[in-house]
Symmetry: C2
Subunit: 147 residues, 2 copies
C-alpha cells in the first residue's frame, strides 16, 4: 500500500489568506491541520490547531505560565483580535522541523516516518510538480493497524 | 468561564492496561488522547495518537529516515506485534514535558497555557483529590474563539 492509496482531499489555505479564515477552518473538530500552499503548489507548511492555540496565547503567558492566573476572564475575547491583519502563514511557527511532504509512491512506513519527524498530524502528498492529496495521522493509524 | 464549564468525560486507561487496548481506543478519529490514570486517580500521563504512531515505528526509522524506504511493504503488519506484552504506560515518551493537568477553577487561558506547555491536545481536570474530567484542544478552541 502506497501513500496514494491512503490520501484524501486536503484542506488547503493560501499563505496570504486571512488568519481568521484559517482559524475558522481549524475550529472544525475533524480538521486537525491545513496545508498552507502557494499558487505554484509549493507546500509552505502545515498549520495545525495546536499552532493556532499557541499563536492565540499572548507571549508572556507561554513564557511565564504563572502569569496566566492573573489574566482577566474577558481576555479570552481579545484572542480573535490577535488574528486581525494577520495571514495564514503568520500562524506557522518559525521553528518547525522536517518536511511534511511525501511522494505518492512512498510506503506507509515512509509516510509515518515523515509525519513523526515533522511533528504534525498531516502530511502533503506530492506527485511530480503537483500536490495531489494529504494523509492524516488518523487515516495512517487506521491503515497501518488494520493491514 | 472555568475549566469545569468546558470539560467532558475523559477517555481513561490504567497504566497497566494492555498497550493494544490503548491503541484500539486511539484508532477512533475522535479520540486524540487518553488519560493514563492510576487506581488512586493520579495522572500518569496523556497518551496521544501521535505518541502511538511514534512508538509503532521501529527505532531505526526515526533515527535515520532514509532507511524507511528499504523496509518491505509487509513490515506494516509487524507493527501490531510491537505492542505485544506492552502496557499503556510503556507507550508514553520519557521526555514528556509539562503537567497536563488543570484545576476545575482555572480559567480557559490557564487551560490553554497548560496545554501548550505540555504539548498535548488533552488535559485532565482535577478537583481536590479527584480527576473530574478532561478538556480537549478542540473544545478549548471552540470556547475561546466563540466567547
Amino acid at each position: 500500500m502506497k501513500a496514494r492509496d491512503v490520501m484524501a482531499s486536503p484542506p488547503i489555505v493560501r499563505p496570504d489568506a486571512p488568519a481568521a479564515e484559517a482559524a475558522r477552518l481549524l475550529q472544525n473538530p475533524e480538521v486537525r491541520g491545513l496545508l498552507v500552499v502557494d499558487s505554484e503548489e509549493r507546500l509552505v507548511g502545515v498549520l495545525t490547531d495546536a499552532m493556532l492555540l499557541r499563536y492565540l496565547l499572548p507571549p508572556y503567558v507561554t513564557e511565564a505560565e504563572s502569569l496566566a492566573g492573573v489574566l482577566e476572564e474577558g481576555a479570552a475575547e481579545a484572542l480573535w483580535r490577535r488574528l486581525d491583519g494577520k495571514r495564514a502563514s503568520d500562524l506557522l511557527p518559525e521553528d518547525r522541523s522536517g518536511d511534511a511532504e511525501v511522494d505518492a509512491e512512498d510506503t506507509l512506513i515512509e509516510v509515518a516516518s515523515a509525519m513523526v519527524e515533522a511533528h504534525v498530524p498531516l502530511v502533503a502528498v506530492r506527485e511530480g510538480d503537483h500536490l495531489v492529496g494529504a494523509i492524516t495521522l488518523n487515516a495512517l493509524l487506521k491503515y497501518l493497524l488494520e493491514s
